[in-house]
Structures are given as C-alpha cells and as structure tokens.
C-alpha cells in the first residue's frame, strides 16, 4: 500500500514537471503571437511556420558550428527578419483588414510548409544540446529529471521577465503600449507607427524562432510541428486574452497542465480538456482571462 502511494506521488511530480516544461514552451511561442496581435490586430496564422523555420535553422547552425547558443542566435535573427519581411512585403498592404491578413498568412504557412518539406524532408531531427545540460539531475519526489527540460522553464522565465521589462521600462515598450491602446492617435503624435509594426513583428517572429530551437532540442523537429504550435498558440491566447503577455503565461500554464494531466491520467480524453477550458473561458469571459473587451 505504502509503495503504491509512493509510486503515485512520483508519477504526479513527473507529470507536473512535464506540464510545466510544456507550458514554458507554449508560453514562449504564444508570447510572440500575442505581442503581434496586441499591437497590429493581425492573427498571424504563419506563426507556427516561423517556429518550425527557427527549429530547422537552429538545427543547421548548431550542427555546422557545434554551438547550440549560436543556433539560438541565428534562429532569432533569421526568423525575426523573416517576420519583418512578412509584415513589409505582404501584411502592410492590407493594414486594418484583419480577415484578409489572416487568410494571407494561412497562404504563407502552406507555401512555407512545402518549402521546408522540400529542404529538410519528412524525418524528425533532434537539435543537440550542450553537454552540460543533456544530463539528468536529482529532483525531490520525482527522482531524476532531464536538466534540459528544467532549463526550458528557466528560459520561459527569462523571456517573460525580459518582455515585461521591455514593455514597461523602455521607450519601445511605451510606444508598443500606446499603439495597442490607440495606434492612430499614436501616429498623429508624429510616431512612425509602420516602423514600430515592423519592429514588433520582428520581435514576435524572433521569439517563435527561439522557441523552435528550444522545442527542437528538448522535444524534436518534424513537419507538422508548425500546425501544432500554431494551434497551441491560438488556444493559449484565446484562453489568456489576446495581446496580453501575462495572459499568455496563464493560458500556457492552464492549457499545458490540462493537456499533460489529461494524457497521463485519462489518456482517452486527454485532448478534450484543453478545448473544455477554451469553451468555458469563451462562455464566461470571451475576451480571455486577462484580455480586454474589444
């Protein structure tokens, strides 16, 4: 009896840690998605493609140079630039036409998925982590747990705090907050809002790219991940509130925990809980937990 109880607690701890690490990954992907939506009202349906592109670039660069950090940096820069190019070359021409922009980004994601399939094929890759973190560390109750997954939680915290500081303590953040409130008024005060848009798109896309490298290191990279992380980002920001970074954190936590506990304890219904949460939030608070009424 005692042994059984002991095993259950250990399982519970591991599942909880798995949930937290998945939440961390969801948060990093969704924060960029939410940042872009908050300012520009663009539902970027190509956000998952940016994630996957980041993962592949991270793979290539870290394989070629042997440096994982260089892989992260390359993914952030290249995917950030890809996001900026998407805004300049396509989305800026349909400013304010939300539906058209969403459709255009769906088109981009389809093309991007095929181009990436042609380049990297259909097999799964794993990005090699630095030796120091590819180990197991002792954790109370859970026993041993992968260092890399714990590191993921640290990454999410660093990115979350970094984003908060940027939004609340810098001039760029001030411009972004003012733009979220009333972008036309901001422009009438002499601020080059189109340029701010490009910058924010680059930041949001860069975050997706970084998430791709982290996700591809801790989990794996393969075609189809783009749709998976787009879907998770959508659910996370619908639950947490479009445009809110703290909302993305809470949404990521709720969605990832529901998914992980659901799959561990009631495998048959695992996927249902995520959508149950979304339906409940939409019924009670359609703007999301921390979202503002439109």
């Amino acid at each position: 009896m005692e042994a059984l109880l002991d095993i259950n607690w250990r399982l519970f701890a591991i599942v909880t840690l798995n949930g937290l690490t998945l939440a961390s990954l969801y948060f990093i992907v969704a924060s960029g998605f939410s940042l872009i939506f908050g300012l520009m009202r663009v539902v970027n349906m190509a956000h998952g493609s940016l994630y996957l592109l980041g993962a592949y670039i991270g793979f290539e660069v870290s394989e070629a140079t042997g440096s994982w950090l260089l892989g992260i940096a390359a993914a952030a820069v290249v995917v950030g630039a890809a996001g900026a190019a998407l805004q300049v070359s396509i989305l800026s021409w349909m400013q304010g036409q939300d539906l058209r922009q969403a459709l255009a980004t769906i088109g981009v994601s389809i093309v991007a998925a095929d181009l990436m399939l042609a380049q990297w094929g259909g097999s799964a890759y794993q990005i090699t982590l630095p030796g120091a973190v590819s180990s197991f560390v002792p954790v109370p109750v859970a026993g041993r747990y992968a260092m890399a997954r714990l590191m993921l939680i640290g990454f999410a915290l660093v990115i979350g705090i970094g984003l908060w500081l940027m939004l609340n303590r810098t001039r760029v953040g001030m411009l972004i907050r003012a733009g979220v409130d009333d972008r036309r008024m901001l422009e009438a005060l002499g601020v080059n809002v189109p340029l701010v848009f490009v910058g924010v798109f680059a930041i949001g896309a860069g975050l997706a790219g970084v998430a791709g490298v982290i996700g591809g290191s801790v989990l794996s990279v393969s075609p189809g991940e783009d749709a998976r992380y787009l879907l998770s980002s959508l659910i996370v920001v619908i639950v947490g509130g479009m445009g809110s970074i703290p909302g993305a954190a809470i949404g990521a936590l709720l969605v990832a925990m529901a998914e992980t506990y659901g799959l561990a304890y009631t495998p048959t219904y695992g996927i249902v809980y995520t959508f149950a949460i979304m339906v409940a939030v939409l019924a009670v608070r359609p703007q999301g937990l921390l979202g503002r009424a439109a």
Binding site: A178, D182, M185, E187, A188, V191, P194
Partner: protein, 237 residues
C-alpha cells in the same frame, strides 16, 4: 512674394465609401485663432482628420506654410508641424501621465516636459497616474500638453470642451486663449458657441460638408436669425 498662409485647405473632398462627407472645403488661417462651428454630422471631425492625414481625401489639397501635406501619412503631417487634440481626448489608458509626455517630448524646443508641468501643475501632481484614471478635465489638459510637446506651428483641436464641467470649460478656454497669443496657430472645432467666440474672433460655420459662412464672433452672437439659420440653436449659453 506674398507670404504663404499657415494653413490653407483648398477644395477638400472626402468620401466614406459612397457617402460624400466633405464637399470641397476651402479655408485659410494664419496665426490668429480660427473657430469652426456647426451642428453634429456636418463634417467638422472629418475635416480635422483629413487635415491630419487620418482619413484619405479624394480631391483638393492641404498646405502648411505653403508645403503640401495632403496625401502624407499622419506621422509626417504631425512632424511637419500640426498638433492634434482629437475629439474624445483619446489619452492612452496604459500610459501614465509622465509617459504620455516623455513619449512626445524632446529635451530641446520651446515646449518641454518641465514647462508642461509648470503650466499644468495638476498634471505634475498626477504624473504617476494612468491615463484612464484621470478626470475629463485632466485628460483634456494631457491631450493638449502632448500636442504642444510636438512644438507645432498649428494646433488642430476637435471639441476640446465636450463633456467637461463648466468650471473646467473656463479653464480650457483660458489655456486656448493663451496658446492663441503665443504665436501657435489654432484651428478650433467646437459645438459650444460661447467657447468658440471667446477663443477666436474669426468664425466659420460648417454645413453639409462645406464652409457655409464666414463671420466674426460679435456678429454671430448678436444675430439670432443667423444663428438659427446656420446652427439651429438659439445660443448655447
């Protein structure tokens, strides 16, 4: 060479879809304040937005000091020297008073953040408060201040006294008169005839998307028939 007027609007047309809102508005103003009055829905707000480049015009042009500004994006119009105080004030609810001012303010120039705090002590007291936490009068002071910090040549103000308590309206009128005296041009759109006539001598009446009448404050105040005809009100105060 004749000097160019500060602002000249020539035959300005604006459509919202198929509805023709501005029917060739033509006006000129210098550094003396000019008020535009008119009933609701006559196109006054659209005129302000078209001057600012916030709505596209489909004909005619706007010049600031002789330089063509119509067709430019709003931020370029603002940088060319027009400060905009919009209807409803539109302060940013996520920004504190201090952030509003630092967003626009530059260390040099005639108007600095410190000078604003000196001119509006109430804003200095509330500098840490968020935009949404301010009273209507405070929001109006803030909206005027952030426009002044651009060090504009012309201020375009859309109903700055709308929804304010009478004692606050008096204060706003004082501020507007002071701005008018400081050499900054002022284009004031108002529904409140008393405010318009206190701020400027020169008054234009807008009707159905056109300037229907140009007159002066005394004439408009003394001629009840004129007011009835153009404004459909006997006098608002």
């Amino acid at each position: 060479m004749a000097s160019d007027p500060l602002l000249s609007v020539d035959g300005l047309h604006v459509y919202y879809g198929s509805s023709h809102v501005l029917h060739g508005v033509t006006l000129e103003t210098g550094t003396a304040p000019l008020s535009i009055v008119g009933r609701n829905g006559m196109g006054k707000t659209t005129l302000c937005q078209a001057i600012m480049g916030l709505v596209p015009s489909s004909g005619g042009e706007v010049r600031l000091g002789g330089e063509r500004i119509s067709g430019r994006r709003a931020f370029k119009v603002a940088r060319a020297g027009i400060g905009y105080v919009p209807q409803g004030r539109r302060v940013f609810r996520s920004l504190s008073v201090d952030e509003h001012l630092r967003l626009v303010g530059k260390p040099d120039g005639e108007w600095t953040v410190e000078r604003i705090y000196g001119t509006f002590p109430r804003l200095a007291e509330r500098r840490r408060n968020g935009g949404a936490a301010l009273s209507g009068g405070e929001q109006q002071m803030l909206a005027i201040s952030r426009a002044l910090l651009l060090n504009p040549r012309l201020l375009v103000m859309d109903e700055p006294t709308e929804g304010l308590a009478p004692v606050i309206v008096e204060h706003v009128v004082e501020v507007l008169r002071e701005i008018g005296r400081s050499g900054v041009g002022l284009l004031l759109v108002e529904q409140n005839l008393t405010v318009a006539t206190e701020v400027s001598d020169r008054i234009m009446v807008m009707m159905n998307g056109e300037i229907a009448l140009e007159t002066d404050a005394a004439t408009l105040l003394n001629d009840r028939a004129l007011r009835n005809r153009y404004l459909g009100v006997s006098a608002e105060a």
